[in-house]
């Protein structure tokens, strides 16, 4: 990865890369980039101000922890979780389901990277698109209520 980054920096400057990255987002979109360890204590402080949170952790115990604590500590937050997206099985198995009052789950809810199947772009992208679409739906519903 470092070699690839070095080669890219020979072809294009960091400033140009940053500009290209920024150009992907609408000008009126607010973005905050934070690097933090997510733990049970203090989780509310990180997330409770947001009406919608998407979960995309890798480990199942961490996914469960985050979803459980968001639903418990942030009573005004709706959670959209990605669950089951590994491999290259039928992409039509990727679905969005409302599992609890404030929880939507996107994925097939069964295909685990631990089965020796890695994460491969098409299904992961489909799952991410499901999560993004559900965010849009919820935002637009709230706007027109």
């Amino acid at each position: 990865m470092k070699e690839m980054q070095k080669k890219m920096q020979e072809l294009i400057s960091k400033e140009e890369l940053d500009r290209a990255f920024d150009a992907r987002f609408p000008k009126n979109m607010q973005r905050k980039l934070r690097s933090a360890k997510v733990a049970i204590a203090g989780l509310g402080g990180l997330f409770c101000e947001y009406p919608i949170v998407c979960e995309a952790f890798d480990r199942p115990d961490q996914k469960a922890m985050l979803v459980r604590e968001l639903l418990t500590q942030c009573p005004k937050t709706t959670v959209i979780s990605g669950n089951g997206m590994a491999g290259y099985a039928d992409i039509n198995e990727i679905k969005t389901c409302q599992m609890m009052q404030r929880l939507y789950v996107c994925g097939d809810q069964s295909t685990d990277v631990g089965d020796g199947i890695g994460l491969i772009a098409p299904r992961v992208s489909a799952c991410a698109a499901h999560q993004a679409n559900k965010v849009l739906q919820l935002v637009m519903q709230a706007q027109y209520e």
Binding site: D58, P60, Q109, S110, V113
Partner: protein, 64 residues
């Protein structure tokens, strides 16, 4: 009768944590909602399933 993920089961009186383990769930990998309340992981063993309980168990798998 108890409903678990929409299915009716005769499990009133069972301990919730033991039921989860018997049915192959790892407690660390699930989120459990009982009668619209999320049960903290550390309290799963304190819950006795009651008649007419409605329980949702969401099992997570790896990958994100």
């Amino acid at each position: 009768m108890v409903k678990i993920n929409g299915e009716a089961k005769e499990i009133a009186g069972k301990n919730l944590l033991e039921y989860l383990k018997e049915t192959g769930f790892k407690p660390e990998w699930v989120v459990v909602e009982r009668n619209l309340e999320i049960i903290p992981k550390e309290l799963l063993g304190d819950v006795t399933i009651e008649d007419e309980d409605e329980i949702e168990v969401l099992r997570f798998v790896g990958g994100g």
